[in-house]
Each structure stands twice: as structure tokens, then as C-alpha cells.
Amino acid sequence: MITMTYREAVRSGLQQALRSDERVFLMGEDVGRYGGAFACSRGLLAEFGPERIRDTPLSESAFVGAGIGAALGGMRPIVEVMTVNFSLLALDQIVNNAATLRHMSGGQLSVPLIVRMATGAGRQLAAQHSHSFEAWYAHVPGLTVLAPATNQDARGMLLASLSEPDPVIIFEHAMLYPQEAEVDEQAPPADIRRACIRKEGRDVTLITYGGSLGKTLTAAEELEPLGIEAEVIDLRVLRPLDTAAILLSISKTHRAVIVDEGWRTGSLAAEISARIMEGAFYELDAPVARICSAEVPIPYAKHMEDAALPQAATIVQVVQQLCATKD
């Protein structure tokens, strides 16, 4: 176990991937000389050279599509789209090619592609640079969508994705990169099927992922002295959702709150709420609540950005209200 940042954990994963399989290469804007917009790939150019650490032009559609093509051609590309904001420019390639080619070709092709991108708000980058489109990607059949929230997962889920024969999209919340924690570099690739209970509790289930895990755990701690024991589920895998884990927890707590940085309407939280409706309606003592981002382009000013995003204080407040309703 060594202490490292989330960014270093990603780098460690990339490094191991590149060392262990020569079909692996990394490509994206500024992954090479610059060292990655978030410094995740710093040093990799020196170790692996420009053929395997490829700086691309600003051409999201072309280089993501080229990743798909290279995967078809027998490589194991890891494509870094700098942030989810720019991934809109590559969405056609991801939806209509990466996710679709296998089924549409009658099972002839497969696309073992990893696309990594930073996501989320919180750094005062304003409306065009603060998106959370995880829910959109989680909507698309053919994709596996991951959201590592811990440093161990940042490394382990990347490595697990490498053995997948189909496209995997990995969301790294930009606020997590400086997060320090112990990482076991000897650990096997992470499980990428299951959600994980990060804190046990019996009064309410808090369901979250990615950049919101920290806030949710903080809220859960603050709820303890108020007499509410919250169970915190880190979804980890956004597609396919681990519905069983959610329902199991609710069969114990009978209450649930979903914390999701996406805009409320059409959020991933909506999907989770709907699944709980379908799978645990009779278990519920109160309606499932969602805490999401306000429905507004995320503003630059700190106090306004804070007001737009889910915060621990809001979670505490909503949970308290919810637990006050006794059935």
C-alpha cells in the first residue's frame, strides 16, 4: 500500500496497462508532451515513446473514431477525451460506431476501446466546462460506463476495463484528481460489475457515485450524531447498474436518497429512482428523494456554483426530512 493521489493512481494504472500489453496505447489531446491536462500521463511519453503516447490534434470525433478503428484493427486503445464537455463532439462515434458495431454486424466485430474523460463541476470553470453527462452515456446499449470514486478504483477499474472486449467509458471526476489515499498496486483488477457499500447503516440508503461520494460520506457522518445511520452505496458502475445492491440495501433501510451531480431532470438519479419504484416499491417507507444539480448552466462565481451543485448540507437536510416521515 502506498499513498498517492487519484491522478497518480490513474497514471499507475496506465503505466501497468502499457507495460503489460503492447497492444495498448494512449491517445488524446496533450497526453504526451504536456503530460495530460490533469497530469495523469506525465512521464509516460518518456517511458513509452511517441508511438504509444500519442498527442492528437483537436479533433474529438476523428481521434475517438480512430480509437474505434484501431480497436477493430487489433489494438487496445485508451483514448483520453480531455473532459466530458468535449466528448459531445465525439458522441456520434461513440453511439453509432463504438456501441453499435458489434450488434449491427451480427456479432462479427468487437470494439475493445477504453475512453477516459474528466467530468463534473466544482472548479469554477463555468457553463461550458462543468458538465456531467454520465447519464447520457449510461443510456446507450453496448457501452459499459464506470465512475471510479476512490483511488484504488481509479487504478483498478482501468485495468479491469482492459480485459473487456467491448467499449468502456470511464469518468474521472476532476475534483478527485488531487485526492490522496492508499493504493495497493499489487491488487488484481477491480470488479467492474458491482456497486460497493462504502458505509453501512440501517436508517436510509444514500446512493451516489464519482465526485459526489465524498460529499455523501461527509453528510452520512454528520447524520450520525443526529441519530440517523445512513448506508452509503457507491455505484461504481453506471452501466449496467447494480440494481440488486440498491434493492438489497433498501430492503433493510426502507428509505433512499440519490445524490447525483447531473441536472435533476433526466439525471441518472431518475433512473435509479425508477428502478427502486419498480423493484422495491413495497419496501419503501417514504418516497425516494433526489439531490441533483440545479437546472441551470453552471455559473462561474464560487457561491453561485456551490449553490448549483449538491452539497453535504443539503443531503443532511433532505435525509432528516425524509427520515422524519414515519410510515
Binding site: A66, G69, A70, N96, P165, R239, E278, D285
Partner: protein
């Protein structure tokens, strides 16, 4: 030749000439039959015919080796056939039958054959170009001398992906042949109304790329130009933009009432029919007799009939297979990947909840 052009036939063997003609004829007849089958409700969805453009696919494929890759568009029957896909597997696909090349899931716009290294069949205009760049990159990274041939229309040249792909391929010196089939129309929009610079091959300069235009109605010219281009690519010089100037004789798709062009223009181009003119050239050069042609034609007609029969008698994919192949099951049954595929499957299937089992 009908348009009075002099063709250099020296070095053209009878066998090769016949093969070219046979393939063009086969494509022509398959397309005609498809149109007919569409009208009587055997083929559905979109159907984009290649009639008039046969010389491009047939000429270009001659220059490619079995392990080269092809990426194509929704107007790809010609490319598929010229690459060697069996008419039966194409026709069955258009019928939506499970013996179709894509199990009936793709239809006319999505022919795939991984054995022939035929990577579809892409219905998003411009969407195939980045794939070709990636296939080229894989070849380069693995030190293979394969060439990836990417077919696309003049309309695709308008899309940002054209620009991004040519830049990327040239920058990285990738072995990709960008083959633009300029049939002068993007659906109903004429070239001069969708491109400010109508000399498509000239756009190569914007990428320091080699470009050339060729008469797309002349199969030998296309073969020669493609051969040169492919040689240049294989020699390590990076990509090549080849513009084949051609014309589609039929409507854009079966939905198109063709309000946007004059019949006279179409008739003018039909005089340059690549099939008829090549046959005429061969006859003039005594490489083909009237009887030969009849025999060829008869063979082709038989092939088409076989294809239709295969499509007619082919099985439908069972509905239970609907979710099959969304994900790849892993080779080993106990592997993690397999369970991920299963997890996807399970997640995709929703059910009504059970009544509360435990007390609150």
C-alpha cells in the same frame, strides 16, 4: 467507346477484362433486382443503388490485397460485391434474414464481412472516415503493410470528420486510401450548392496530402489510379486522396422523387455508362464477342437468381436473440467479462416488484 475516348488496352488480359465486366454487370443486375424487390415489399428501409458508379468499386478493388481493409457507406452493395461478398449473403441481408452477412440486423446500409475485412456499411455520412484512420493506425503500429480503403461521397467531404480525418492520417502518415466517390450530388443537393470549392481532390493540399482525380466511369482508369495510389501508400508515403468522378443514374434512395435535377443531365451521363461502354470497348478490341457477353450475362442472371432464392428461403433470426451480441460473451465461461455481459443482459430486463417480503 460511346463518348469517343481512346482507351489504352495494352497489357489488359482477356481474363482480367472479363472479370471486371462480370463484376460490374453483377452489381448492376443485383441493384436492378433489389429495386424490383423493394417495390414488391421484399426489401425495406432505405435502399441506395449504386447503378452508374460500378466502375469505381470494381476498379478500386483490383488494387487491394485480401488483407487490406475496406470501410464503406450506406451505398455499399457495389463495394461488398466487388470485394467478393456473395450476392446471396448481401441479398439475404437486405431481406433481413439470418443468413444475411449481418444476420439481418443491418439491412442494405450495413453490410459487414470480417473475413473479407469489409468493415461496413456506415449510414452516418462521414462516420466511416475516422474508423479508417484507426484501422490505418493499427496497421502502422503493428508494422503491417496493409492499406485501408475508405469510400465516401462528395457529401461526406462537407462534414467536419473529413477534415479531421485527413489531417490526422496525414500528420501520422497512415496507410489510408481516401476514395471519394464524387457523384455530384449529396442527396438532392448539387456539388456546387454544397461545396464552395468543387475540385475535391484539390482539397488535399490543405493537408499536404497527395490528391488526384480520375474518371470514375472508366473501370480501367480507376484501377490504374487506385493501383498507383495504393503503391504510393504502401511505399510508406502516408495517405492519398483519390477522387473518382462519377454519377448515380438512379434516385438517391427509393424515397427520392428526383425533383432537383434535369432528366437531360441524367441522360447525358447515362451515355457514359461504365458497364455498356466497357463492354463496347472490349468488343471493339476483339476481347469480347456478342456471344461471350450473352454468356456472361446469363451467368450473372443465374447468380442473382440464386441470391434471391437464398434470401427467400433463409431463416429469420429468432426473437429470443434480440439482445445477443450487444456485448461480447467472453471465451471462458467463468471469466469476469462473461459476467459483465450477463450483468448487462440482466440490467436490460426490467420486472414488476414483488410484494413487500420483510416487515418495515
Amino acid at each position: 467507346m460511346a463518348d469517343g475516348k481512346i482507351v489504352n488496352l495494352s497489357g489488359l488480359s482477356r481474363d482480367h477484362a472479363w472479370a471486371l465486366l462480370r463484376q460490374m454487370l453483377l452489381i448492376r443486375r443485383i441493384e436492378e433486382k433489389s429495386a424490383e424487390l423493394y417495390t414488391i415489399g421484399k426489401i425495406h428501409g432505405f435502399l441506395h443503388l449504386y447503378i452508374g458508379e460500378e466502375a469505381v468499386a470494381v476498379g478500386a478493388m483490383q488494387a487491394l490485397q485480401p488483407d487490406d481493409e475496406i470501410v464503406s457507406t450506406y451505398r455499399e452493395h457495389g463495394h461488398a460485391i466487388a470485394r467478393g461478398m456473395s450476392p446471396a449473403s448481401v441479398m439475404a441481408e437486405m431481406y433481413g434474414k439470418a443468413n444475411g452477412c449481418s444476420r439481418g440486423r443491418g439491412g442494405s446500409m450495413h453490410l459487414f464481412d470480417v473475413g473479407l475485412r469489409f468493415y461496413g456499411g456506415n449510414a452516418i455520412v462521414g462516420g466511416g472516415l475516422p474508423l479508417a484512420v484507426g484501422l490505418g493506425l493499427a496497421n502502422k503500429l503493428q508494422g503491417r503493410t496493409r492499406v485501408t480503403a475508405c469510400f465516401f461521397g462528395d457529401g461526406a467531404v462537407d462534414e467536419g470528420e473529413f477534415h479531421e480525418s485527413l489531417n490526422l492520417a496525414t500528420l501520422w502518415k497512415l496507410p489510408v486510401l481516401f476514395l471519394c466517390e464524387n457523384n455530384r450530388y449529396a442527396m438532392g443537393t448539387g456539388l456546387e450548392r454544397h461545396q464552395s470549392q468543387t475540385d475535391i481532390q484539390a482539397k488535399a493540399q490543405a493537408y499536404s496530402l497527395r490528391g488526384e482525380a480520375v474518371d470514375g466511369m472508366d473501370v480501367l482508369a480507376v484501377e490504374a489510379a487506385t493501383t498507383r495510389a495504393v503503391e504510393a501508400i504502401r511505399a510508406g508515403g502516408g495517405p492519398f486522396l483519390l477522387e473518382a468522378r462519377t454519377y448515380r443514374f438512379r434516385a438517391h434512395s427509393m424515397y427520392d422523387p428526383e425533383l432537383y435535377r434535369d432528366k437531360a443531365e441524367v441522360e447525358q451521363w447515362k451515355k457514359r455508362c461504365p458497364v455498356e461502354n466497357f463492354a463496347a470497348t472490349l468488343r471493339a478490341a476483339a476481347l469480347l464477342t456478342e456471344d461471350d457477353l450473352k454468356e456472361l450475362e446469363a451467368g450473372v442472371v443465374a447468380q442473382v437468381a440464386e441470391a434471391v432464392a437464398a434470401a427467400e428461403t433463409g431463416p429469420w433470426e429468432p426473437i429470443e436473440d434480440l439482445l445477443k451480441d450487444v456485448h461480447t460473451p467472453a471465451a471462458g465461461s467463468t471469466s469476469r467479462s462473461n459476467t459483465l455481459a450477463e450483468a448487462h443482459q440482466a440490467s436490460a430486463v426490467g420486472q414488476l416488484p414483488q410484494r413487500r417480503l420483510a416487515a418495515p
